[in-house]
């Protein structure tokens, strides 16, 4: 191996730059200018990109990977229904048997994460007045039928709901006499129909358990044309003033409620 000679090295570097300058001078003027301009533009773009695009952009896809970590770091407010039972197992047991078994604790008591972290400092209270329950139980015709509803303006005004109803195991203080307690939409249609004075029990037989366990014990329904014909056949006696048809010849392929809605017959 040759000894390193600084002079030779310098002169060879000098020679390289000289040759480069000579070649550069041989270029036409316009090419020189364009080359310089291009170099400046490329440098500016590369600098701007490194400064503007975050370091972990594009690690997993066309986004900043650490954005997910930032989103995940958001604090939790709702603790979830499982954790409540760890301390309030007595309430959970009451609730598990009642109509509110699928209603999470935080629906009424509000977000509980802070309470689970410091039980003393953060106390949760469900609404004590009449402001909470009607959010679900106020009568709205759009609500699914069978969902228990009241009109709060006329339902024991001013009295707080929890005075009569235990929210963890809600039951009416006495079994409702009226079907309208749950079947509000039907009751309101019937009230303005010609069947207003026909009692629900005239057509439906409701077993007593239906009031306590409505889905397991369903009320009966009339099962044939003969039932309506009891009043509406032109042979029916003692039913003057009631619209009557000849049951034998009147649309014999159908049962009555395929065309007529018994809770609001079309003749008004």
């Amino acid at each position: 191996m040759n000894e390193f000679d600084p002079n030779t090295a310098l002169s060879s570097i000098g020679g390289f730059f000289r040759r480069l300058r000579e070649r550069w001078q041989r270029f036409p003027e316009q090419v020189k200018r364009l080359t310089v301009l291009l170099a400046v533009v490329v440098f500016a773009l590369v600098t701007a990109r490194t400064m503007l695009v975050p370091a972990d952009f594009g690690k997993y896809g066309h986004y900043r990977a650490s954005a997910v970590d930032e989103i995940v770091a958001q604090p939790i407010q709702y603790a979830g229904h499982e954790i409540c039972t760890e301390c309030h197992d007595d309430v959970a047991e009451t609730k598990a048997a009642g109509f509110h078994k699928n209603v999470g604790c935080e629906v009424c008591h509000g977000p509980a994460a802070a309470h689970t972290e410091d039980v003393e400092a953060v106390q949760l209270l469900a609404p004590r007045g009449r402001e909470g329950c009607p959010l679900c139980h106020e009568y709205l015709p759009s609500r699914p039928t069978g969902f228990p509803q009241i009109v709060s303006a006329s339902h024991n005004p001013v009295k707080p709901c929890i005075g009569c109803h235990e929210a963890h195991d809600p039951k009416p203080p006495e079994t409702p006499k009226e079907c309208s307690a749950c079947h509000a939409t039907i009751a309101r249609s019937k009230a303005i129909s010609h069947h207003a004075y026909v009692a629900c029990t005239r057509c439906h037989e409701a077993p007593d358990q239906h009031k306590l366990d409505p889905r397991s014990f369903r009320p009966s329904k009339p099962d044939g044309r003969e039932f309506c014909a009891g009043c509406h056949d032109d042979g029916a006696s003692g039913k003057e003033g009631i619209p009557q048809i000849d049951q034998a010849s009147h649309e014999e392929r159908y049962v009555c409620w395929q065309c007529h809605y018994p809770h609001l017959p079309e003749a008004q």
Partner: protein, 266 residues
Amino acid sequence: MMNKTAPSVTGTSPQRRSFLKTLALSFAALIIPGIVVARDKLDKVKDWVIGDGYRPADHRWGMGLDISKCIGCGRCVDACKKENNVPLEPFFFRTWVERYRILSNGETLIDSPGGAINSFRADAPEETVLRSFFVPKLCNQCEHAPCVQVCPVGATFSTPDGVVLVDAEHCVGCRYCIQACPYGARFLHPETRTAEKCTFCYHRIVKGLAPACVEACPTQARVFGEVEKKASPLVRFLRMNKIAVLKPFLNTKPQVYYTGFDMEVR
């Protein structure tokens, strides 16, 4: 052997061969780096762990909404606003509930006062109501999300588990995604001036909790779970019900599924 018997083509053959070789090489140079980088990213995504051992590549989230169970109480809207610090003004929502009333004259009334955060009022329209029901709405977490496509800075993106998220740090607040969303699920946060929307409560689901709206729904009208795994409440929901999605003709492939759907629902 073949070359000896066909001397007439030896003159042109090397030229053609070298041309084809160069052509193949140039195409390979164009395509192979792309394939290598994409494969590398796919492998990286598979190994991605968020927070406490949550692997997004192992999940695929969706939500089912049973219209016939919704009572319009608005507890989901309330819970969502509390969980996610959504401004209380009545026009910023990550989720909201609409009331549909189809009248006997063929008209359809749709309202959502304050997003239904305080439920609804029983005001009777003049015409007879034929059908009426509540429809909860939220971001549909589309598989082909238009909002992701239009974001000019890559601030909105789909995670490997199918949730569309917004990077609030990177968002420039141009509102293009708000325009692009066919479901009106996005809004501009009045303080941060960045786009906001439902995240399926991503900070909750990575920890094994259900989204706040699902937690707060008293009638279980909202079902949350895996779209593909066998034992998931959502898979059962999808198997047991007749399913519809909002605006299927847009080919956005929503991952929010409805049952009890009416043709008037838009």
